[in-house]
């Protein structure tokens, strides 16, 4: 970060020069919750030229989880004899009949874990309890869930199962681009998921849709460098695939992690909040590991659950509106009492917007004084 300032002034200079050449304002989309938080935390929106915008896409795993899948987790957590292990972010996401946190209040045994292997170990140490691991996330977290299933298999555990709602990024991005109403000029591709997927995974979006894609890291200067490249591509009318996070993301990604995923999971349709059911965008546990599938074990069936009335999370994560455009934002829906998932997850666009304030709207002190 010590050399951050010079790099930052270089990239903002390049971004400014490219933005001058834009014929129309350009909105880019980040599809990674970590990008969302990083952008808000460093006040990145306040550093963009007036005709360049950055919107949040379906990159926060909690935010894209369908209401019905949350209901399923609450249902599993409330089964007698079950210890439900999940990541902290899932705890407060409201389902139709309350959140996992509320279920815990009613007596359900819900534990927050940091590593999926902690859940496996807990199951091994507590043979009388049945541990259900509730897992969501993209290619970044799926290998850890797969590894937990393999470890449970190795230990021959009979008191461990997984309620997985993992998603695959590319089919969802394709679905998003197939929607002609989407006004997005380019994609700031996620740094973390790309470590697994590889930058080449995004090439079809460039080839098939003529859509600029740039893989970027999470430091402000890395994100700005990505946005500068996207702006240059739009200004010159030459969509490309670029990777400004080469030190971490390889073109081929991490084949070993993808192999672990493929060993345990197979492609399946998945229900995304706001995007609906997208074929091939989800992952089901393969038949040879079916004894670790909590839905089979406990005969859990996801029901269609309507999203809460007035909630515009779906439009927020598809770049159709900003959090502040939602009628519930900041009044009926706050991080203390969230209505939609984008307000619950610390990586949700609404929560970041609420917490850091719409940084674009903060007038500099010098100007505010006038």
């Amino acid at each position: 970060m010590s050399s951050g300032r010079t790099t930052i002034s270089e990239v903002t200079g390049r971004l400014g020069a490219a933005a001058v050449r834009l014929r129309a304002p350009a909105a880019f989309m980040e599809v990674c919750g970590t990008h969302t938080v990083s952008a808000f935390r460093c006040g990145l929106h306040s550093m963009l030229p007036a005709n360049v915008k950055l919107l949040s896409g379906p990159g926060c795993p909690v935010c894209v989880t369908a209401q019905g899948d949350i209901d399923l987790m609450v249902q599993a957590a409330e089964l007698p004899g079950v210890t439900f292990c999940t990541y902290g972010d899932m705890l407060k996401v409201p389902g139709t009949h309350g959140s996992l946190d509320a279920a815990r209040g009613r007596g359900a045994d819900v534990k927050i874990i940091y590593s999926t292997l902690d859940a496996v170990k807990w199951a091994a140490d507590h043979p009388k309890q049945h541990v259900v691991l509730g897992a969501v996330g993209f290619e970044t977290t799926t290998p850890a869930t797969a590894a937990a299933i393999l470890e449970a298999d190795r230990r021959r555990l009979s008191n461990f199962s997984v309620l997985a709602s993992h998603k695959v990024l590319l089919p969802a991005l394709r679905a998003l681009l197939d929607d002609r109403q989407i006004q997005i000029a380019g994609l700031l591709c996620p740094g973390h998921a790309s470590v697994i997927l590889g930058s080449e995974a995004f090439r079809p979006l460039v080839d098939d849709y003529g859509f600029p894609c740039v893989v970027a890291g999470f430091e402000p200067e890395q994100m700005l460098a990505g946005i500068a490249r996207l702006t240059e591509m739009v200004a010159t009318g030459r969509p490309e695939l670029d990777n400004v996070y080469r030190q971490v993301v390889k073109p081929e990604g991490n084949p070993l992690a993808r192999r672990i995923i493929a060993n345990v999971f197979e492609p399946a349709p998945a229900n995304w909040r706001a995007l609906g059911v997208i074929p091939g965008s989800g992952l089901a546990i393969r038949p040879q590991f079916s004894r670790f599938d909590a839905t089979l074990r406990f005969e859990l069936v996801a029901k269609d659950a309507p999203e809460p009335a007035g909630c515009r999370c779906g439009q927020v994560i598809t770049g159709r509106c900003t959090p502040a455009d939602c009628g519930l934002f900041g009044t009926r829906c706050t991080p203390m009492d969230p209505v939609g998932p984008c307000m619950v997850s610390s990586e949700g666009s609404c929560a970041a917007w609420f917490k850091y304030g719409p940084s674009v709207a903060v007038q500099p002190a010098q100007e505010a004084m006038r």
């Binding site: 970060m1 951050g4 300032r5 930052i8 002034s9 903002t12 919750g33 970590t34 938080v37 808000f40 935390r41 460093c42 006040g43 990145l44 929106h45 306040s46 550093m47 795993p61 909690v62 990541y87 902290g88 972010d89 899932m90 705890l91 407060k92 927050i112 940091y114 969501v136 996330g137 993209f138 970044t140 977290t141 973390h192 430091e219 402000p220 200067e221 700005l224 706050t334 991080p335 203390m336 997850s345 610390s346 990586e347 917490k355 850091y356 304030g357 940084s359 903060v362 500099p364 002190a365 505010a368 004084m369």
Partner: protein, 337 residues
């Protein structure tokens, strides 16, 4: 009387067993002439001026963590609540609530720490209370401390004293306490260099006040981190407070741990830090005074009070962006990817 290894219900019963506990474990460590009078209250000499009184409960888990423990916290927290009001601590009241079955060695370690921290703060435990509750009714050991202190004549501190141009100072690295405890709680197997900053700050604060720097306001950024403190400061003083992120002292390892857990270092608790608002012309003097104390050697000026009256705290980020700093909402949750 028979030696004991564990706390029994009878140790809270007010009888001979309780006397044994108090003599062997408590008075042996924090005894002094006031406590020795054996009265139901500690009797203190009254100063001529104003008194400050404060109370705090300590329920931290785990009770021992890198850099501190519940005992050090209990003395530091109450001493600091007095000191940031400009008060010189006169005495501490100590309440212990123990669960039946608590190991004597744990209580002894905590009492050792209470005694050592009280010596460091140059304050006496002048009265106390001991209770034992049934197994499972409390998580091992809870500590309550109340403090009484003397406020020097003529010292007026508060949000109302804050003026345009005032500088904002902090005595060192932020977020160490919260992360040390969180890592000890959530990842006990991890070895980390992050240590709690829990410390009594009355010595450092006295040193700054003695430098005759015009201090307008002080507060210790505990549970809501410096975000909570600064957002409150801006709102209550009805001034825009501008903070330079680049000037905020944050240790590298603390920043990394916070990033790993998805936490904002500005929202993480501190137990040995004080934020001071000081008149512009005296900021250098106050900074020198802070830095000449061992608990302030990494002190920095982190921002200033502007004459914009919107009551917002604005952060100039290291990367050159600007954003609002808000008070945190509630408990922070670890992120999932």
């Amino acid at each position: 009387m028979k030696a004991f290894d564990h706390i029994l219900m009878a140790h809270g019963g007010g009888g001979q067993l309780m006397d044994q506990l108090l003599n062997e474990v408590v008075r042996a460590r924090v005894g002094n002439e006031i406590l020795a009078q054996g009265m139901d209250s500690g009797i203190l000499q009254t100063p001529a001026g104003r008194l400050a009184i404060t109370l705090d409960g300590y329920v931290v888990t785990p009770p021992f963590f890198p850099g501190g423990d519940i005992g050090r916290l209990a003395i530091s927290g109450t001493v600091n609540d007095l000191a940031v009001c400009g008060a010189r601590p006169l005495g501490i009241a100590l309440g212990l609530i123990m669960a039946e079955g608590l190991e004597r060695s744990i209580l002894e370690r905590v009492m050792d720490s209470i005694a050592a921290t009280a010596r460091e703060a140059n304050v006496k435990v002048v009265t106390g209370d001991t209770k034992v509750v049934g197994r499972g009714q409390c998580d091992g050991l809870y500590v309550t401390t109340a403090g009484i202190g003397e406020v020097p004549a003529g010292l007026i501190l508060g949000h109302a004293e804050v003026r345009t141009g005032d500088k904002i100072l902090i005595n060192g690295f932020i977020a160490d306490h919260g992360l040390a405890v969180m890592l000890a709680r959530e990842m006990p197997h991890l070895t980390t260099p992050i240590r709690s900053d829990a410390a009594p700050l009355n010595g450092l604060i006295e040193q700054v006040l003695e430098s005759h720097a015009k201090v307008r306001f002080m507060r210790d950024p505990t549970r809501a981190g410096i975000s909570g403190l600064l957002a409150d400061l801006a709102r209550a003083s009805r001034r825009r407070v501008v903070i330079e992120e680049e000037c905020l002292p944050v240790r590298r390892e603390t920043r990394h741990a916070a990033e790993m857990l998805g936490l904002d270092v500005m929202e993480v608790a501190n137990e040995g830090k004080v934020v001071m608002v000081v008149a512009d012309e005296d900021a250098g003097k106050a900074l020198t005074a802070m830095r000449s104390h061992p608990l302030g050697k990494d002190a920095a000026i982190i921002g200033e009070v502007t004459d914009v009256t919107d009551g917002l705290c604005e952060l100039h980020t290291t990367s050159g962006g600007r954003r609002v700093v808000q008070k945190p909402l509630g408990e922070q949750l670890p992120r999932i990817c």
